[in-house]
């Protein structure tokens, strides 16, 4: 019976091609193999986000009057609703943390070197989409803190010359953060971003399969033979161990440290003290704060935003700058990754103090 169904499906979908590919695909086994698991961990947390998001959207109402109330209802009245919300919130944080770790490990290992430039670029775009997911999702509970943080966040593009004001208005759906902004953010969060993410993810995974896993730089330079294991079942079993442990950690944290919900935002009230964005924006937030009001004839905020934009462009095209990884330039670019980690950590801690 089982064989009958298998051959019936194979005749229609051509599944044997996929299974053949999986058994023939190999994964290098070396001391840095642990970093390969970060990519699949991102997929795991994204899948959890999708499932819990589907559950939350059944009860969430994206209107000015009902948004906060509906989240309160999810937390107080819907059976285990607070756990679902907590898992959604924590898996978002876990996903973004793993995207950062994944990209930084690739930067340090220089896995983006030829012919994997496009894999890197699609990965950077996926990071931006993940951050935008976090930004739009943060407003949805419509409480004091999320409202004020969104007000500050959507005000930042205003510093960009020429198009800045237009970008802010586009994000807000008007001059201020209102019910229109909430509806807009909800639409972006549940409709637009998932579509972009699925397309980019498909491209990224295709490129990873096409190019295969990268080898450590020293092994490639010395043309050493690296031990390999089959993707199926050897690597998949190892990945399953990592997935199980991550699911356990995620659920335990979500149950014992659920996110709270403040009272509904009052549009007319002054901004509360100690507005902080989500942890992954803290280093950018602090960078903006430490810039002086004016640097020569330019506004400090405009200069900071332009510098961040310039850094993001350099980050996106990094494989093209780091085209000679074994030379001094390559070593300097690797050390920049450590400088970035240190900078982000120091700025985030400073922002929290």
């Amino acid at each position: 019976m089982n064989i009958g169904i298998k051959s019936w499906l194979d005749e229609r979908f051509g599944l044997s091609g996929i299974t053949d590919f999986m058994t023939k695909k190999t994964v290098p086994l070396h001391k840095h193999t642990i970093w390969y698991y970060t990519g699949s961990a991102i997929l795991l947390f994204f899948a959890i986000q999708v499932v819990t998001g589907f559950m939350l959207v059944l009860y969430y109402k994206p209107t000015l009057e009902m948004a906060n109330e509906s989240v309160a209802r999810i937390m107080n009245e819907i059976p285990l609703g607070w756990i679902i919300r907590s898992v959604h919130s924590w898996s978002a944080s876990f996903m973004i943390a793993f995207v950062f770790v994944h990209l930084l490990s690739i930067w340090i290992a220089k896995s983006y070197r030829r012919p994997r430039e496009l894999t890197w670029m699609s990965g950077v775009l996926l990071l931006l989409i993940s951050l935008f997911f976090g930004f739009t999702g943060y407003l949805l509970p419509w409480d004091d803190l999320s409202f004020s943080a969104t007000k500050v966040g959507t005000d930042i593009p205003r510093a960009i010359p020429v198009v800045g004001v237009w970008v802010t208005k586009l994000l807000r759906g008007g001059e201020d953060v209102t019910g229109d902004t909430l509806t807009r953010f909800f639409g972006i969060h549940v409709c637009m971003l998932p579509v972009f993410l699925f397309i980019l993810l498909a491209i990224h995974i295709y490129l990873v399969q096409k190019q295969g896993m990268s080898l450590p730089l020293e092994a490639e330079v010395k043309q050493e033979k690296v031990k390999e294991i089959p993707f199926w079942p050897n690597f998949v079993f190892r990945e399953t161990v990592v997935w199980l442990l991550l699911v356990g950690i995620l659920f335990s944290i979500a149950i014992f440290f659920p996110p709270s919900l403040e009272k509904a935002a009052d549009v007319m009230a002054p901004a509360p003290e100690g507005i902080k964005p989500e942890w992954y924006f803290l280093f950018l937030f602090q960078t903006l704060k430490i810039f002086p009001a004016h640097v020569l004839f330019v506004s400090g905020e405009t200069l900071a935003v332009l510098l961040m934009f310039f850094a993001a462009v350099l980050f996106f095209f990094l494989p093209f700058f780091d085209n000679k990884p074994t030379l001094t330039k390559g070593k300097i670019i690797t050390s920049l990754a450590f400088v970035f980690i240190l900078y982000a950590l120091v700025m985030s801690v400073w922002s929290l103090l």
Partner: protein, 102 residues
């Protein structure tokens, strides 16, 4: 001039009443009563912060049982998977899968 007994009693009663009225806010027993009365009244202000938590002891117990069950299942599965990994690695080294295909 002497006060009649009933008038004396009324004055005494009034004195005690005044003493109780003035002293009531400083009397702990009275404060308890007032607190009990005000706590019975429904709250008009909405809570400042909602923190997700199990709603009753049944749910709390259920969550603890779930967490323990989850970790026991994970550890058992990890144990079996480690054993399976060793086995498939050994079979791969013996070229068992490629021999099977040929």
């Amino acid at each position: 001039m002497t006060l009649a007994r009933p008038s004396f009693l009324i004055l005494g009663f009034l004195f005690l009443f005044l003493l109780a009225w003035i002293g009531a806010p400083y009397c702990p027993a009275q404060q308890d009563v007032e607190q009990a009365v005000t706590s019975d009244l429904p709250e008009k202000q909405e809570p400042e912060k909602i923190i997700g938590a199990p709603q009753d002891i049944k749910q709390k117990t259920g969550i603890w049982v779930f967490v323990v069950w989850m970790w026991v299942s994970i550890l058992v599965l990890v144990y079996f998977l480690r054993w399976k990994i060793k086995e498939v690695d050994r079979l791969y080294q013996l070229r068992y899968f490629s021999a099977k295909k040929n």
